[in-house]
């Protein structure tokens, strides 16, 4: 049995600056040893602990989809010790990765249903993985209509520009991009995500919703979804808590009796309302 | 002692009844022998919870920082010194607190008593005039209070409150003149002996930070040991990290430490933490002629200088 605390070595293949403030970069990583890659079987919505040797570990959701083998992608915002160091690293440098961890998005229950994906800002990374997964040829037919709403402060803060463009050119997904502030040359919507949701959301019947984004976006989007008749059991959110071990032992990330690292990070809204916590949305 | 308790209750009741303060911070009976503990009284009817005895070791000045209410605080000599420092450092406004000064008879050192009893369980403690009587399951022992006071109490020359709005009892006799016989004799040891002692003490530390958290003058929002960006100090319990934590902790209190001994009292392992602080107090006293927690007007020694400060330690080639 593999020691769950020991990371697999990975190498940085490329680094892409995503946002205009240069605070979010997407790192493409590849496994140094092939056998490690074979053990790393993940689903969209799961996360991994990335090691910067000498600085420590931090958890990040996989931004790449398992349907794109050979590499992993992580979009990382510069905030703490590990991420600050990561942002100074470049191609060829060695990191560690421990995972996959957590439960991931419930793909099975989504089959045969419409899918509504609502993302905001930096919280979009695992939803991007989910979108790419669902759009992949063999998976696309498992889901009905797919609607994507993605908002950011300004156009320069939207991640994954080439993906967004490719999706907009497809007919099997409806993509609504929105920004808080208008910019010259912006052709998408202007306004907050909850408002756009109210405007373009598909029929609540037979639709599964995935939401991830900043707390303010979530708190304001949930009432809209409720109003539109979406059931609590069919809305899934990805939670953020301070995680360390990732295997439900270190005692940090519990909300009531659930460990976000093991039982989550994805919970249905119904489950979240049942958690013993004072920070329910 | 009873008169003192009655007076404390009376003052507290009056203040709460007249609405002069929102809360009275004092001591109440603890749940186990040797422990009186902090309590917060918010209504006149509750004032009878307040007590005073030889087990009121906590420094209640700890609780005034970052509190918005108007507070009355039952304060012995060292508590008032800490309050004075906090006022000086603008951590609490003088008019936000009402100080009920209590002349202090010294507090009994539970850890030393435990060691004396070889940790046999105590059922009751009864304080008499100059002694206290301990009863256990099959033993009884009468000990001399003076001998079992905390070291900080034995050395204390500030038993009476230095700043107060009201005194709850008559002032007690204090010895005069600051002396540091313990520090001087320790300085007389060789480098190696001192290092042996210090590293033995450090090896027992579990880094629970009780010393830091019990200290009334440790109020940084983020302590240097907790800071992660940059990380100043390692978190493991190695001799090096532990030693440097304690040195740095003491140094942060240079010229501020009021020698209440709260650090040492809170240490579950009875480590001689106070020695470092006391050494600094001595140096501050000898080099800069300053004693913390005595005067509101005197500038803190490390916030000022004199052109003729000692240069004895400067290297001359």
């Amino acid at each position: 049995m593999k020691n769950p605390y020991v990371p697999f070595p990975v190498r940085i293949e490329s680094v892409l600056v995503e946002t205009e403030d240069k605070n979010i970069k997407t790192f493409t990583l590849s496994f140094i040893h092939r056998e490690d890659e074979e053990q790393f079987i993940y689903r969209p919505g799961q996360f991994a602990e990335l090691t910067v040797f000498g600085k420590g570990e931090a958890p990040f959701g996989m931004a790449s989809s398992p349907t794109q083998p050979g590499f992993l992608e992580f979009s990382i915002s510069k905030a703490g010790v590990v991420t600050n160091e990561l942002h100074q690293m470049s191609e060829g440098e060695v990191l560690g990765i421990r995972g996959p961890l957590g439960n991931g998005y419930p793909l099975e229950t989504s089959k045969g249903k419409n899918v509504l994906i609502i993302g905001g800002g930096f919280g979009f990374s695992t939803l991007r993985a989910l979108t790419n997964y669902m759009l992949e040829e063999t998976h696309r037919k498992e889901f009905k209509q797919i609607t994507l709403i993605y908002g950011a402060r300004r156009p320069g803060f939207l991640l994954y520009k080439s993906d967004l463009e490719a999706w907009q050119n497809r007919s099997d997904i409806q993509v609504f991009l929105t920004v808080d502030q208008d910019d010259t040359g912006w052709r998408g919507k202007v306004g907050f995500v909850p408002a756009v949701t109210r405007e373009v959301a598909p029929d609540a019947e037979n639709t599964i919703t995935f939401v991830c984004g900043p707390p303010a976006m979530i708190t304001h989007t949930l009432p809209v979804l409720k109003e539109l008749g979406f059931q609590k059991e069919r809305i899934f959110l990805s939670l953020e808590m301070r995680m360390k071990c990732g295997i439900g032992k270190c005692g940090r990330c519990n909300i009531g009796s659930k460990y976000v690292c093991q039982d989550g990070p994805v919970f249905s809204y119904a489950e979240i309302l049942n958690l013993t916590s004072d920070d329910v949305f | 002692m009873d008169a003192l308790i009655n007076r404390i209750r009376e003052i507290a009741r009056g203040l709460l009844r007249e609405g002069k303060v929102d809360v009275v911070i004092g001591f109440e009976e603890g749940t186990i022998p040797f422990h009186s503990r902090p309590c917060f009284v918010r209504s006149p009817d509750e004032a009878d919870r307040l007590i005073w005895n030889n087990f009121c070791g906590n420094n209640l000045a700890k609780y005034v920082v970052k509190r918005k209410e108007r507070m009355a605080i039952v304060a012995k000599g060292c508590d008032t010194r800490a309050l004075l420092e906090l006022i000086k450092e603008k951590q609490v406004m003088r008019d936000q607190i009402y100080i009920i000064g209590v002349p202090c008879q010294g507090m009994i050192d539970r850890v030393r008593v435990e060691a004396e009893l070889r940790s046999r369980p105590v059922r009751t403690v009864e304080v008499r005039e100059a002694t206290f009587l301990i009863t256990g399951k099959d033993f009884e022992k009468e000990l001399d209070i003076k001998e079992f006071l905390y070291p900080s109490c034995q050395e204390c020359i500030r038993k009476n409150p230095v700043i107060f709005d009201e005194l709850a009892g008559p002032e007690v006799e204090e010895s005069v003149g600051k002396t540091y016989p313990d520090i001087e004799s320790f300085e007389g040891l060789s480098d190696e002996e001192r290092w042996q002692y210090f590293s033995h003490e450090m090896s027992r530390c579990i880094r629970c930070y009780a010393c830091r958290n019990a200290c009334p003058l440790c109020y940084c929002t983020e302590c240097f040991v907790d800071a992660s960006n940059p990380q100043w100090i390692g978190k493991s319990v190695t001799e090096s990290d532990t030693a440097l934590f304690h040195i740095m902790r003491a140094f942060h209190l240079a010229g501020r430490c009021v020698e209440c001994g709260a650090c040492e009292r809170s240490c579950p392992l009875g480590i001689d933490i106070r020695k470092l602080n006391r050494k600094l107090s001595k140096d501050v006293h000898v080099l800069f002629n300053y004693e913390a927690g005595i005067s509101l007007d005197e500038v803190a020694p490390l916030a000022t200088y004199r052109p003729d400060d000692s240069e004895a330690f400067i290297l001359e080639p």
């Binding site: - | 480098d191 001192r194 440097l244 740095m248 470092l276 140096d283 490390l302 000692s310 330690f313 400067i314």
Partner: protein, 149 residues
């Protein structure tokens, strides 16, 4: 790394490593002058330039000790000559206490030194380095409070 460090003295060629924090306005200029004037001094010293001796956080010194640096020197402008008027006076109070405290816990007296060197004192700078190096060399490699990884 540490293991190497510990092993070195056996080879009899062990040389101490000394870190010197020099203030920009006087002591660093003094070191510069020593260099320009080609005054010889031991090469054990690694110089870190700081704005003022008053800027040196006691932790800088402790961090050096922790990392196994054998000796630390802090040097500023002579009293009364500080570029910031009072920085070195404040440093003097701070370090009088720190040096005394470290000695109190048993650190060898000669590990940490403080001095003043002005911009015109190239010779004094060289002498200071010679003296510090001699003292630290006589103490042998640092052990107390050194962290082993």
């Amino acid at each position: 790394m540490e293991d190497q460090k510990m092993a070195e003295p056996k080879t009899a060629k062990w040389e101490p490593t000394i870190v010197a924090f020099l203030c920009n306005w006087c002591s660093y200029a003094g070191a510069d002058l020593a260099g320009i004037s080609r005054i010889q001094y031991p090469n054990n010293v690694r110089i870190i330039r700081v704005a003022c001796s008053g800027q040196v956080n006691p932790w800088f010194i402790l961090a050096n000790i922790q990392q196994g640096i054998d000796g630390v020197l802090i040097s500023g402008c002579h009293p009364g000559e500080c570029h910031y008027l009072t920085g070195n006076y404040r440093a003097r109070r701070k370090f009088a206490l720190l040096k005394s405290l470290l000695q109190f816990v048993g650190l060898e007296e000669g590990r940490i030194h403080f001095t003043w060197v002005s911009a015109s004192e190239g010779v004094r700078f060289a002498r200071v380095i010679e003296k510090v190096t001699d003292i630290v060399r006589s103490l042998g490699p640092a052990k107390k409070m050194v962290k082993r990884i």
